[in-house]
Symmetry: C2
Subunit: 205 residues, 2 copies
């Protein structure tokens, strides 16, 4: 559709702008409550001594996540998505205008909790992460193939609850590799920080 | 927008058709992996000796949930939603044409896992349930007010994991009542069936 095509063009413009200013952007997608904010928090804690970081958070009405992230003394832009169920390149373009890109190295973009639409709306980032949680059950990957096809890194979170959920983490990993052999899969506990070093390595950070 | 208005009209037509044939329809919405299918399964087990039941399941590509539900010997229509992130009244209208409505009393409609869009797309059901899981964290209700505004029943599921998640179930319940004082809130474990009788009572079944 025209909407998707227009978005793709804007995404390319965003990408060019970010690259021109040497800012690496990472699009963090995932299911509702899967651990996107917790993951970004843990990454910020580990990386802020090496990178100058900013973050975007797309949300309907609240700024809960944006406030949580800004406690880490990084610049945060809360993007009001209205009733949209995904971020788009236009919203990101406007948010980029609020940053001093020359004084940044790394930008985390937390997408709206959704395993469907973000797959169709690239934002112009360098890397795309998808976060799923073992608490969603064993079929999360096979039910949503499209979002995993474009993922650079897939994070399987809340592994501390895998046995309570009776979910086989290895088989979720296999499901990802079948859909996207080049995706790097990392298992994490984003509360304790277990697995975060591996996420950083997978992102090349 | 025109799309929303057109959907509302079709929803009213669906509602009229269901009422004409004496079929009660229940729209089961909720986050990805929150427990929608498990809830419907448990309700079918308890109700199929008293009601003639059918179910719809909206999904992208797989028929995992539809197959799971049909094991209970009820008629199931798997609705292929393509890349749509919500069911709409038109898809439901077409699916209704595949049922012999005169030989049914109760229809469960499992929506796509999404706490945003289904709020804007009524389907023509009598009752709307929203299922959330404690594993999504403590802010699930306040972050998605619109879907709770229209809910008749809110199910807070996976209470067996509430202490592992450090989530206060009572405070989630308070969040719902603030947004929608008339919603009936029930806490459940949809694996064991704990709370299912209360869900039935809340639905008037
Ligand atoms: N047990 C456990 N809880 C976790 C883990 N990671 C995050 N959580 C908790 O899960 C809940 C949701 O985490 P968030 O980081 O807010 O998830 P999110 O994907 O950003 O959620 P939304 O932005 O609301 O879609 C919070 O209560 C977290 O503390 C984990 O590895 N294990
Ligand atoms: N521990 C626990 N697990 C549950 C509970 N209810 C459901 N589950 C599990 O949670 C996973 C997801 O449940 P489903 O019923 O498939 O959830 P859903 O909302 O239909 O998921 P989608 O249709 O894929 O969005 C499954 O592995 C269930 O067995 C519960 O109360 N406690
Ligand atoms: Mg978040
Ligand atoms: Mg389901
Ligand atoms: Zn969407
Ligand atoms: Zn949507």
């Amino acid at each position: 559709k025209n909407v998707l095509e227009a978005n793709r063009k804007l995404a390319q413009e965003n990408r060019a702008l970010l690259q021109k200013h040497g800012v690496k952007a990472i699009d963090v997608m995932g299911a509702i409550g899967a651990g996107k904010t917790s993951l970004i928090e843990k990454l910020i804690e580990k990386l802020k001594n090496r990178y100058r970081i900013a973050a975007f958070k797309g949300d309907l009405t609240t700024t809960i996540d944006a406030e949580m992230l800004s406690r880490h003394k990084v610049e945060v832009v809360a993007i009001n998505t209205g009733k949209e169920c995904h971020l788009d390149a236009n919203l990101v373009k406007k948010a980029l205008q609020r940053l001093k890109l020359d004084s940044l190295d790394l930008l985390f973009i937390e997408n709206v909790g959704n395993l469907i639409c973000p797959a169709e709306f690239p934002l112009g980032s360098d890397k795309r992460i998808v976060v799923i949680s073992v608490t969603e059950g064993p079929f999360m990957v096979v039910k949503h193939p499209f979002i995993f096809m474009d993922a650079d890194v897939v994070v399987i979170n809340k592994i501390d609850l895998a046995s309570a959920m009776n979910v086989d983490v290895k088989s979720l990993e296999t499901d990802v590799k079948k859909i996207n052999p080049r995706a790097r899969v990392v298992t994490t506990n984003c509360r304790t920080g277990e697995g975060i070093d591996a996420v950083m390595a997978a992102l090349g950070l």
